[in-house]
Symmetry: C2
DNA sequence: CCTACCGATCGGTAGG
DNA sequence: CCTACCGATCGGTAGG
């Protein structure tokens, strides 16, 4: 995160982005003012415009710079277990744990959908999908115990399963419903998916 | 939707809500102004305040009045197939078809999460869960071919599966990724879930 | 239900 | 990087 060779300008720029992420997560994009971002960054309002041309440019910079994809992809590549079941199972657990402990990117994605109608998301997808889809293409080709034969479906359902866990978690956050949820909810949740894509019992 | 006994005031009120839903879906809550809602409803700005005390009151009214739960619950109760597999499978397809053709409520839910931090959602959950959870409790008790034994997990994963299909659909909407997706994506998606919760091949 | 208005706050900028 | 300011727009209201 913090490199040694940071200039003061780079540090300030990052401070602005961090402040903005925090405020966007709490209030959304349009309900967050440049004055709030300035104050939270310890700057005067005008100072922000030395680093960003507009409010939207801050958001765009965040979407790129704070993307967890740099964290997630190494996980997917490293977490390889002996079998594919272990691999996907481990990967799912680690990714979910990462995204629930630092839920900023999922929130940013939802802000994108709600307040920008997905305007920036498309470009991002175009960059990421070609890097992850091959992993799932390889899985589908080499592993004979997979029920799912279409890589795009496997990828979509994998991401969807992770998203659905995190979003249902957000929905229940303030509610009493959490009491109904068993302790091993995450295990049970991932297990349903794993069994869903496999031919054999795991 | 439209009853015979509507007064003019009720009709105007509904017109305001419909306009607001449309605008909220497009821009989110905070980026939609009362003036936009007024114009879209064919009213002067001040006229709105004869029906709603504030902008937030409009949103709250929408969350209650436009809730698809009144549409969805009858579906869940009616769509009963011969087996549970058929039942859940049919229910999932119908609910998803309903929510993708009229995605307003999923969008409203996301607005709730993003712009209100789930402030209104908790109360709503408290009302709905007690009505739907029993269905899943009954399923878990009476059907022996279910792998999932915790009703809360079954309900959460069912809702999560539906949400994840719709949200990944929203994400891909503007992108080229749609080309990668096979025609039968919905069938394949639901099939993974069905196989995931069942003991036996379906 | 509309007209005309209020104070507050917004994103952004000039000038130093 | 800050101060002081701009026009525009916001949610909401009084008065009829």
């Amino acid at each position: 995160m913090t490199e040694e060779t940071q200039t003061k300008g780079e540090r300030t720029r990052l401070q602005i982005e961090d402040s903005a992420v925090e405020l966007f997560m709490e209030n959304g994009y349009h309900a967050t003012s440049m004055r709030q971002i300035a104050e939270h960054s310890g700057l005067a309002l005008g100072g922000i415009y030395n680093h960003f041309k507009s409010k939207e440019e801050i958001f765009e910079a965040i979407v790129v710079d704070k993307h967890p994809y740099k964290k997630i992809l190494p996980i997917l590549s490293e977490a390889q277990g002996d079998t594919m079941e272990e691999f996907l199972n481990n990967a799912a657990h680690i990714v979910i744990k990462e995204l629930t402990s630092q839920p900023y990117y999922v929130k940013l994605m939802l802000i994108e959908i709600v307040e920008f109608n997905g305007a920036h998301g498309a470009a991002l997808l175009k960059e990421i999908v070609p890097k992850i889809l091959p992993i799932f293409e390889k899985l589908v080709k080499t592993r004979k115990n997979l029920r799912v034969t279409q890589p795009a479906i496997l990828l979509r359902s994998f991401i969807g399963m992770i998203l659905s866990y995190i979003i249902t978690d957000m929905i229940m956050a303030n509610s009493i419903l959490t009491k109904f949820m068993p302790k091993n909810a995450l295990d049970a949740y991932v297990d349903i998916y794993m069994h869903g894509i496999m031919k054999t019992e795991i």
